[in-house]
């Protein structure tokens, strides 16, 4: 589904290929990729584009969270951010306008959100408007592959990625199917739980991430519960990158400058970090 698209649209790479390339590039610099999650319009609607640009200047891709009234895969932090964004009147249409106004960001944006607001917007209209706004793809946590065909069909003409998620309890045959279907990257959920919960035990998940990586033709991003440079160093040998979400939201809640926090995670396992002998492949 993905391959034909870039050719049909001329020399510019399809958004999903740009996303994949952006997440592969850090390996050449000897560090894992960093994907940062940011709830749209959080902490405040005003100034969101500035926050977004700041995050995109450091991260390799940005997940822009589309708030939903019933975020069933999210822990308290993102529930809170979602509710705060909705209370300020953040809508999918507003998010797409903001992204369009932001112009080309230093890191490709991906929309992460629950299915119902996307359905309400209309899938074909969504794909067209997202492509026009510079979006590279989608992560939809309540849309398993078995139900994804209409969504994939809408995204395909625009070369937009639909990122699949795998988890520690995904059986091998299903892992192979999800890895083959995923575009842009493969999202490896590191815990059985919601976002921002228990910190994953790096030893317990090393074997899991190694299995995911062997199955995946795309870069593997490990996420859910990643908060510290130490975790990034532990995950780095087993994944192509990490996703940080709740910890970034919490930094914003505290009024911290997200720049140093994100840079610390980005460089935790790279050449800029003190050599710690763990090695990066």
């Amino acid at each position: 589904m993905s391959g034909a698209v870039s050719g049909a649209r001329g020399p510019a790479p399809a958004p999903q290929d740009r996303l994949e390339a952006a997440l592969r590039a850090p390996a050449a610099a000897g560090r894992p990729a960093l994907v940062a999650f940011l709830t749209a319009g959080y902490p405040l609607r005003a100034g969101f584009r500035e926050t977004l640009a700041q995050v995109a200047a450091i991260a390799d891709a940005v997940e822009v969270g589309v708030p939903f009234s019933d975020p069933m895969a999210d822990g308290l932090t993102i529930q809170r951010a979602s509710a705060a964004a909705l209370a300020q009147g953040v809508t999918l249409a507003w998010i797409l306008e903001e992204l369009a106004r932001a112009g080309r960001l230093a890191a490709p944006p991906v929309l992460m959100g629950y299915l119902n607001p996307f359905l309400a917007y209309g899938l074909e209209r969504l794909a067209a408007d997202a492509a026009a706004a510079g979006v590279a793809g989608f992560v939809v946590p309540d849309l398993p592959l078995d139900e994804a065909e209409p969504f994939e069909r809408a995204l395909a003409p625009h070369g937009l990625a639909l990122v699949q998620l795998v988890t520690p309890v995904t059986p091998p045959a299903r892992l192979a199917r999800l890895a083959a279907a995923s575009r842009g990257f493969l999202y490896a959920v590191t815990v059985t739980g919601v976002t921002g919960g228990a910190e994953p035990d790096p030893l317990a998940i090393a074997d899991y991430l190694d299995r995911v990586r062997r199955a995946s033709p795309r870069p593997v991003m490990a996420g859910f519960g990643v908060r510290t440079p130490g975790q990034v160093r532990a995950l780095a040998p087993h994944a192509d990158g990490v996703v940080v979400g709740s910890a970034l939201i919490e930094a914003l809640e505290r009024g911290d400058d997200p720049g140093p926090f994100l840079a610390g995670l980005r460089d935790a396992a790279g050449p800029r970090a003190a050599a710690d002998g763990e090695g990066n492949r």
Binding site: D70, L76, L115, Y121, D142, V166, V169, R174, T192
Partner: protein, 407 residues
């Protein structure tokens, strides 16, 4: 296929299909972590329900522990008041006081068979929570019940019953703090331990296989009611009427009469205090297609796909979604759905208590309003009403409303 052809499939037992669909409705929209758990549950439930030994054990417990079959009671007072012949299918007489026990017992037995270490459940009015607590105790599994903080307040007697039955009750302070938030919280808890926990979902909603599984376990209501009315009256009713929140007691009653095309099937939703957004829980009347809690069905939502607030005097009907099979039955024209508002429900409750000596639940009172309306349009009709639960749990709410007793 046309809705009518699909209806033939439904009557023949071919729906939901392999993907959990009733036509366009249903499916499985859940985080990836839950997909293997739902696949295991589906396979386990199919095997169990096809296993004569499991069915015999279930029937034995339904009879000896839950008190089935429940009576079909003639209601001469309501009949005289409404100019029809009204019979009440007495789920209020099932153990723990509502139809919820049929599903809770079946799923608890299933959970034990599938090796679950604990049971979690959500509850709105508290009836499903009480039934889950009791059934879990009966099969020897620990039980945790998620309940919206608003409902904890307005259904206090049931909170105490759950605790006495050994369940842990978790008051949910997020979201709308009612049934919808309780389901969100239960799903999040399930994601933490999808392999050791059985999620005992209480209505015919949620991801496949729940709408099917809950319907199969509630179908005993309609099977009994059909046999009983034939014995007592020698003919089928003109209408079978039940209240609809998620829709489990209604789907259970309706399934007994699905193949009997002449029997009108009528679901009654919560009309609340008006037809505007946030004033009711009437999803089939006012909802649009959408996805919530794992299922594609009708949904009360705003233009941006955010789930709408609801209101009903009855906690059990205070829900913005509805079971996918009801959306299908509406499309197919096999069932129709009406609303009863808060005031009508309170009046019907008072009449039933005064004339029949039966205090129904506030949810159930909505079904009585539907029967009253049907009787007005069809004088002399033979009507079976799903008397889904008893009203003891609502006494504090009734007192708070200043609703006096029958005089």
């Amino acid at each position: 296929m046309t809705p009518t052809e699909l209806l033939d499939d439904l009557v023949a037992g071919r729906l939901p299909d392999a993907r959990g669909r009733f036509g366009p409705w249903g499916g499985r929209f859940v985080p990836e972590t839950l997909v293997p758990a739902l696949e295991r549950l589906e396979a386990g439930a199919r095997a169990a329900l096809a296993d004569p030994a499991f069915r015999a054990a279930l029937d034995d417990e339904l009879a000896g522990w839950a008190g089935r079959p429940t009576p079909l009671t003639h209601a001469p007072g309501l009949s005289a008041a409404w100019g029809a012949e009204v019979w009440l299918k007495r789920e209020d007489l099932a153990h723990t006081g509502a139809h919820k026990v049929n599903n809770a017992l079946g799923q608890a037995l299933l959970a034990r068979r599938l090796g679950a270490r604990q049971v979690i459940a959500e509850t709105g009015a508290g009836q499903h929570g009480v039934a889950s607590a009791a059934a879990s105790a009966r099969v020897g599994l620990p039980c945790r019940v998620y309940m919206g903080a608003v409902d904890v307040e307005r259904q206090a007697p049931n909170v105490e019953r759950m605790r006495r039955l050994g369940a842990e009750v978790v008051s949910v302070d997020s979201g709308d703090r009612t049934l919808r938030a309780a389901i969100d919280a239960a799903l999040r808890a399930w994601v933490l331990d999808p392999e050791g926990t059985h999620y005992l979902l209480g209505s015919a909603v949620g991801p496949h296989p729940y709408p099917w599984l809950v319907r199969e376990l509630q179908a005993v209501i309609g099977r009994e009611a059909r046999a009983q009315i034939l014995v007592r009256r020698g003919r089928l009713p003109d209408a079978a009427i039940a209240c609809v929140g998620g829709g489990s007691n209604a789907i259970g009653l309706f399934h007994g009469f699905l193949a009997d095309g002449a029997v009108a099937l009528i679901g009654v939703e919560a009309g609340g205090r008006g037809s505007g957004p946030g004033e009711h829980g009437a999803t089939l009347a006012h909802g649009r297609a959408g996805v919530l809690h794992g299922s594609h069905s009708l949904l009360l939502q705003d233009a941006h796909g955010q789930v709408g607030e609801t209101h009903s005097i009855s906690a059990g009907l205070d829900y913005p979604g509805v079971g996918p099979e009801h959306a299908f039955l509406r499309d197919a024209g096999r069932a129709r759905y009406v609303t009863a508002d808060d005031g009508e429900a309170l009046a019907a409750l008072a009449l039933c208590a005064a004339r029949e000596g039966i205090l129904p639940a506030l949810e159930t009172a909505h079904a009585l309003v539907g029967a009253q309306r049907y009787a007005a349009a069809h004088p002399g009709a033979l009507i079976v009403v799903g008397l889904s639960g008893r009203g003891d749990k609502d006494l504090p709410a009734l007192a708070a409303l200043g609703v006096g007793g029958a005089r």
